[in-house]
């Protein structure tokens, strides 16, 4: 596949909408906006934070929503870094790299969207060390499948726990993309892409366990402390 990698600038709200409405449903963006009655489209579009002029419209107001989105910010940063590094190193099989290129761009867009939802409440992205995983086909695939399946499950757990309906609309629009990533990579390596009729949720605690087990995180996100790192080189 020679599809150009989407840049962050290109994955803006207008683009997402045009693709959605045009490619899938054959209606124009203007029509869609005019017909949008629910919190759904307008909420997600306006507040994915990808649109012009919405950077200061942070929607995460309750402590609960902030906590959930901060967890997601760290997770998306981990995934974006993992796939971006794999793409840069170029050591994986072509079809795996192709997957990493597209999915890496998505996760970077998700990271940016979540930071915009958080506004000034965003955390500093943690630092990661992926070891040999990003250049080892087998280790990368195993890690990617685990993270995509569990991220989809996590977003299912979080969705009914969010307070803001606009954030719900935004979060579900990311959720189904994570399920696509999971099915896509499972299909690539011969696993059943959709193994059950219903996908069960998984808690933040479960995701935290997976993250811990990888030892990828070398710095915890700090939100309160303004201390300088001990080793500044």
């Amino acid at each position: 596949m020679t599809e150009p990698e989407p840049t962050l600038a290109s994955i803006d709200v207008d683009g997402a909408l045009e693709e959605t409405a045009g490619a899938v449903l054959g209606i124009t963006r203007a029509e869609l906006l005019a017909r949008s009655a629910a919190a759904s489209a307008a909420g997600a579009i306006g507040f994915l934070g990808l649109s012009r002029g919405s950077a200061d419209a942070a929607l995460a107001q309750t402590a609960n929503d902030v906590a959930i989105l901060r967890f997601d910010q760290a997770l998306e940063a981990l995934q974006a870094g993992l796939y971006t590094e794999a793409e840069r190193l170029g050591a994986l099989k072509p079809e795996t790299l192709s997957w990493a290129r597209v999915v890496g761009a998505h996760e970077r867009a998700h990271l940016r969207a979540i930071k915009n939802l958080l506004g000034s409440k965003a955390i500093k992205d943690p630092a990661f060390d992926y070891g040999k995983v990003t250049a080892d086909e087998s280790a990368f695939l195993k890690t990617a499948v685990a993270f995509e399946d569990l991220t989809a499950a996590l977003l299912k757990w979080q969705a009914p726990r969010l307070d803001s309906r606009e954030i719900v609309a935004a979060a579900v629009s990311l959720h189904s993309v994570e399920t696509r990533h999971a099915a896509w990579i499972r299909h690539l390596i011969g696993l059943q892409p959709a193994a059950t009729a219903f996908d069960k949720p998984a808690s933040q605690r479960r995701m935290a366990q997976l993250i811990d087990s990888t030892h990828f995180t070398v710095s915890r996100p700090k939100t309160a402390s303004k201390k300088k790192p001990r080793f500044t080189g």
Binding site: M1, A21, A41, A44, S176
Partner: protein, 207 residues
């Protein structure tokens, strides 16, 4: 088009003719973009309620009836082979399970099962794949468009279903040689937009 202005569509007849009109009525019931609230802000959308859950689940049930019937017909008549056949068989089972779940959740409020006409779309592999990609993508966007309108328990249940629809969409796109994840965000659409698409496919018997 403002379907809300059409009294036939706005009525809640239990006519056996499950037609474009009835489909549109489902959309109307689901609060889809039908002109009534076209200019309102997201915050002004009707807050979640048990009654609204029922309307949205009935809209979802319509999508699931359609998908279940589509895959079942394709397995029977589509001359499908190999992985495309196993995809159709697996997904037919999932969609029937979704129908059963929604019918049980709705109880006596569940809408009756419509009849569909898939024409040639279930008769060849190529036509089947094309229609399946469209149906799955439309399903995902339609569910996402209603998520914020559901109560928390209903949202939790719908999320378990749309998750699997997203997997189907990626799987069938892979089989059809299309991008499995074409966008960074599957921004939800109003039910009316999804219904218009399903009508244009011609699978629904015209009145």
């Amino acid at each position: 088009m403002d379907r809300a202005a059409d009294p036939h569509i706005a009525s809640s007849s239990r006519s056996a003719l499950v037609t474009r009109g009835a489909i549109a009525a489902a959309a109307l019931a689901a609060g889809g973009g039908l002109g009534l609230f076209a200019r309102t802000t997201p915050a002004a959308a009707a807050p979640p309620s048990a009654e609204q859950d029922r309307k949205i689940f009935n809209f979802a049930l319509l999508l699931e009836y359609l998908q279940a019937a589509f895959y079942t017909a394709a397995v029977e008549h589509g001359h499908l082979a190999g992985e495309v056949r196993s995809f159709a068989e697996v997904v037919a089972g999932h969609e029937r399970a979704h129908v059963a779940y929604l019918r049980k959740a709705l109880g006596p409020h569940a809408r009756p099962r419509p009849t569909f006409d898939f024409g040639d779309a279930t008769k060849t592999e190529r036509a089947f794949l094309k229609a399946a990609v469209l149906l799955e993508n439309t399903g995902v966007l339609a569910y996402n468009g209603q998520a914020a309108n559901l109560t928390k328990p209903a949202l939790a249940a719908a999320a378990e279903i749309v998750s699997v629809e997203g997997r189907h969409a990626a799987w069938v796109s892979s089989l059809a040689g299309e991008p499995p994840a074409p966008r960074a965000a599957d921004v939800g659409v109003p039910s009316g937009a999804a219904v218009s698409k399903l009508e244009s496919l011609g699978f629904l018997r015209a009145s």
